[in-house]
């Protein structure tokens, strides 16, 4: 049981490039989330999903897109990366509700030059 895994662990992009971050969970959780965390700050919710095929916007969704084609995977896409998107990205999942315990992945460090 790997829990929540994220790919890649670290990435450097040039402004304007695109990329996809992959989050996978093997706990059969319905809810999945993407957060970003800037240095010295708390986490901010980007997008979330309450089930396969559904997605919704969080606090800071601009510049990001997501897809939840399979229950176990939640993809975060950056179509045209900007330096302001330099951050650490965390994926999380919970069993069946926002109040349920969230299990976080190890994070992806993204640097946009």
């Amino acid at each position: 049981n790997a829990g929540v895994t994220q790919t890649p662990k670290f990435r450097v992009l040039k402004t304007g490039q695109s990329m996809t971050l992959l989050c996978a969970q093997d706990m059969n959780h319905e809810y999945m989330y993407w957060y970003r965390q800037d240095p010295g700050m708390g986490l901010r919710l980007i997008h979330y999903s309450v089930g396969e095929g559904t997605t919704a916007k969080g606090e800071v969704p601009d510049g990001y897109n997501v897809s939840r084609l399979k229950k176990q995977n939640f993809l975060l896409g950056l179509e045209s990366a900007a330096p302001s998107q330099t951050s650490v990205y965390f994926c999380a999942s919970s069993y069946d509700g926002f109040q349920e315990t969230q299990y976080f992945g190890p994070g992806t460090r993204l640097l946009v030059l």
Binding site: V4, L45, A56, F98, Q99, Q102, F104, G107
Partner: protein, 112 residues
Amino acid sequence: LAKTTQPISMDSYEGQEVNITCSHNNIATNDYITWYQQFPSQGPRFIIQGYKTKVTNEVASLFIPADRKSSTLSLPRVSLSDTAVYYCLVGDISNAGNMLTFGGGTRLMVKP
């Protein structure tokens, strides 16, 4: 939206009990109170959750007074490994925007 206020930082020594208080004056009837712990370069980890009175698990205790306008996370006999950032979240279970709002957290430094 129940906004939370926590101290920015706290210092303690090994073996002491640490109490971190979170203020949430606008807490609503359906809101739960949840605490997470985050170590450097790791994702947050759930510590404890409560609605009212006192909740205790193997890691911590959560004290919630009758008016629920604040809550206190209590860590018994802290060790160096408890040095981390602690986040208090308050929100309605039906609203992602409320439930998943991490503030700045409290940076706890445990000294030898």
